[in-house]
């Protein structure tokens, strides 16, 4: 493995920025589809951190965990999209602040 080595710190900072972007999106956006996209960004930022760490230490674990996160993300998005359809049918909107019927 030769060539240009990207320092681990850079990757970690990128992952942290991606995670923060996703988190901010989750907290600030009201549209459910954007919230799900923010969630995907957060998952991928975590996956990026794993891959970089695995490459740094020469361990396969990072890659394996990446595969796991990929599977989790696929499952999550399939369920999530199903929910999106239901919400659209029931509330005729995707604004999550109006779909707050589960309040106490």
């Amino acid at each position: 493995m030769g060539g240009l080595q990207i320092p681990l710190e850079h990757v970690q900072v990128l992952a942290a920025m991606l995670f923060s972007c996703g988190l901010l999106g989750l907290m600030l956006r009201r549209n459910i589809i954007f919230m799900l996209m923010s969630l995907e960004v957060m998952l991928n930022s975590a996956a990026l951190a794993f891959v970089a760490a695995g490459a740094k230490w020469g361990q396969a674990d990072g890659q394996i965990i990446f595969m796991l996160i990929l599977a989790v993300a696929a499952a999550e998005i399939s369920v999530g999209l199903g929910l999106v359809l239901q919400i659209q049918r029931r509330f005729k909107t995707l604004d999550m602040d109006t779909a707050n019927r589960l309040r106490g």
Partner: protein
């Protein structure tokens, strides 16, 4: 012998029939059932007592075993000896006459058949009481007559005052009944049986005379007797029990139920003989009651209340007789008292009936010529009550006083007290006669006395006048008590009631003796008011027992014990409401709170790591 079982069964059957029909039977049929059942039962009693007088054999019948639990097997069984025969004759005989009288007295009442249902039930319970072979069955009858007394005192239940009087009668006697129940439990745990005859035998063989157990057991039984027989200090219910119809007062509160206490002590006299201390207490209790009630009777205005206090006073004589060991004299007085007091009550009922429910004796007067049958009855009844010579009351009261005199030490005191009571008795009974029947008429009677009311009066007149010659088959039941007595003592016993009659005549009829100076003075007025209210014992009991109890009940109304649990509920509810506000239902709010929570957790972990 099934005749014995029929005696209480007939009135019971009729009572059930009248209750089940719930007033749908015509009055004639209800009357035939009510009077006929008691009459038939009286016929059975006559046959039984004829047989008993012929051979003197004790009759015992066991119908069935009532309860069988590990050595405790009370049976529904009857035991009939001389004492029971006397009681049965009084209950069914006098009871029949009163039932017959009631047919006319209650003729206009809407609840005619309810009245006879209760009366028949009472007769059945009372017969059970006196015929019972064991104390548990006796207790069943004992409580049965209590219930019937409650039902009949409150018979005219639309007036709340009658309901109050009924409740008072029930609750006050319940105090005594509780003591009696404890006495039964003590007897059973100590002697292992409640069958009366084996119980007496066991007590005689196992207990010492004057030991603490017999004194305790008899004191508890005495408690029951005192409550039922309206003796001090539980007598306050009887004057109020006059709220019921007058024949009820005659049957229950004069002739039969109130003498149940006397019967109980006579029936268990072998126990009482083992406890001389209790027996002495019975004598003193009787003396105190008879004097107290006689003074109270002097001041009453209500004809029935005078008779009620007089009943308390006469039962005091019976208790005194039991206390001095003259059991046959006590039962003798019980019988004669049943005759003349039933007569007086029925005569009073006839007056009340004719005068539109007028009870105040000072609004009567001059009834001598207008109600001649009633006047004759009342005169004979009063003469017997006052123990004028050769009336039935004379013989019975005389034998009590002579037995008291013969007792060493305390005998003369009891005798003197009894004589004072006899003087007062003559005074108040003839005050009643002179005020009600002589002088000018104040209220006109509007009804004649029909034959159904007149016949019982006439028969009871004969019994009250001549009942003193009826012999009682009590020789085998009680220990003999013969006392040689000086003639002077006997002469005084005859003279004192006559003196009372003379004083009453001089005050209330002749007018030679004026008591106005005494009664108009401040002390006289206060004393009169004091006696009118029965020595203010009602007020005392109200202050000492009723008021603290109601105060306690009121303080418990808000359930202080529940405060702890209610506080727990309040705190939980409050916490619930506080937490519910965080459940907004908004997804972004949840996500944000999770982020902040995470930040806090990470901050703590970093701080601990460094």
């Amino acid at each position: 012998m099934n005749l014995l079982a029929l005696v209480p069964a007939l009135p019971l059957f009729s009572a059930i029939l009248l209750m089940v029909s719930a007033g749908r039977l015509p009055k004639q049929i209800a009357a035939v059932l009510g009077v006929g059942s008691v009459g038939l039962s009286a016929v059975c009693v006559v046959i039984i007592s004829q047989g008993f007088l012929a051979d003197g054999q004790v009759r015992e019948v066991t119908l069935w075993t009532w309860i069988a639990v590990d050595g405790f097997t009370p049976a529904i069984a009857f035991y009939v000896d001389g004492l029971t025969v006397v009681m049965m004759s009084v209950i069914t005989g006098v009871g029949f006459l009163i039932h017959l009288y009631s047919v006319e007295f209650m003729a206009d009442d809407q609840s005619f058949s309810r009245y006879f249902a209760y009366m028949n039930l009472f007769v059945a319970a009372m017969l059970l009481l006196v015929m019972a072979d064991n104390l548990l069955l006796l207790y069943l009858g004992w409580e049965g007559v209590g219930v019937c007394s409650y039902l009949l005192v409150g018979f005219w239940y639309r007036d709340p005052a009658n309901g109050r009087a009924a409740r008072k009668a029930f609750v006050v006697t319940r105090v005594g009944d509780t003591a009696m129940a404890l006495g039964l439990l003590l007897l059973f745990t100590e002697l292992g049986t409640l069958d009366i005859q084996p119980l007496m035998a066991a007590a005689n063989s196992q207990w010492q005379v004057g030991g603490s157990l017999p004194v305790l057991a008899t004191a508890l039984l005495l408690g029951g007797a005192v409550g039922k027989s309206a003796q001090l200090p539980l007598h306050t219910w009887l004057p109020d029990a006059m709220a019921g119809p007058t024949p009820v007062s005659a049957l229950i509160h004069a002739a039969t139920m109130v003498t149940a206490g006397v019967y109980l002590i006579a029936r268990t006299h072998e126990l009482f003989l083992l406890a001389p201390a209790t027996l002495t207490a019975v004598a003193w209790l009787g003396l105190a009651t008879l004097l107290l009630a006689a003074f109270a009777a002097l001041a009453q205005n209500d004809i029935k209340r005078i008779l009620a206090y007089s009943t308390i006073s006469q039962i005091g004589y019976m208790f005194m007789a039991l206390g001095v060991g003259a059991f046959s004299a006590g039962i003798f007085h019980l019988m004669t008292h049943a005759f003349f007091k039933a007569l007086l009550f029925l005569a009073a009922g006839a007056i009340i009936h004719a005068l539109h429910h007028e009870h105040n004796i000072f609004r009567m007067g001059g009834l001598r010529t207008r109600l001649p049958v009633v006047f004759t009855s009342f005169l004979i009844g009063s003469a017997a009550l006052a123990a004028l010579p050769f009336t039935s009351g004379f013989y019975s009261k005389d034998s009590i006083l002579l037995a008291a005199w013969a007792l060493p030490d305390i005998g003369p005191i009891l005798w003197t007290g009894g004589l004072l009571g006899a003087l007062l008795t003559a005074l108040y009974s003839f005050r009643l006669v002179f005020v009600v029947f002589f002088g000018e008429a104040k209220t006109e009677p509007d009804k004649e006395v029909g034959w159904k009311m007149a016949l019982p009066l006439v028969i009871l007149c004969a019994l009250a006048a001549l009942g003193g010659w009826i012999g009682q088959p009590l020789g085998d039941v009680f220990p003999a008590s013969e006392h040689p007595v000086a003639h002077a003592v006997e002469a005084i016993g005859i003279a004192v009631p006559l003196l009372g009659l003379l004083i009453a005549y001089l005050i209330f009829l002749g007018g030679q003796l004026s008591v106005a100076r005494v009664t108009e003075s401040a002390v006289g007025k206060a004393l009169q008011a004091f006696w009118l209210q029965g020595w203010r014992l009602d007020g005392l009991y109200h202050a000492v027992f009723v008021r603290p109890f109601t105060a306690l009940a009121r303080s418990c109304r808000n359930e202080p014990v529940d405060l702890v649990y209610n506080a727990l509920v309040a705190v939980t509810r409050w916490g619930h409401r506080a937490l519910v506000t965080t459940q907004t239902g908004e997804l972004r709010w949840y996500a944000t709170s999770m982020v902040f929570g995470l930040i806090v957790l990470v901050a703590i972990m970093l701080r601990n790591a460094s």
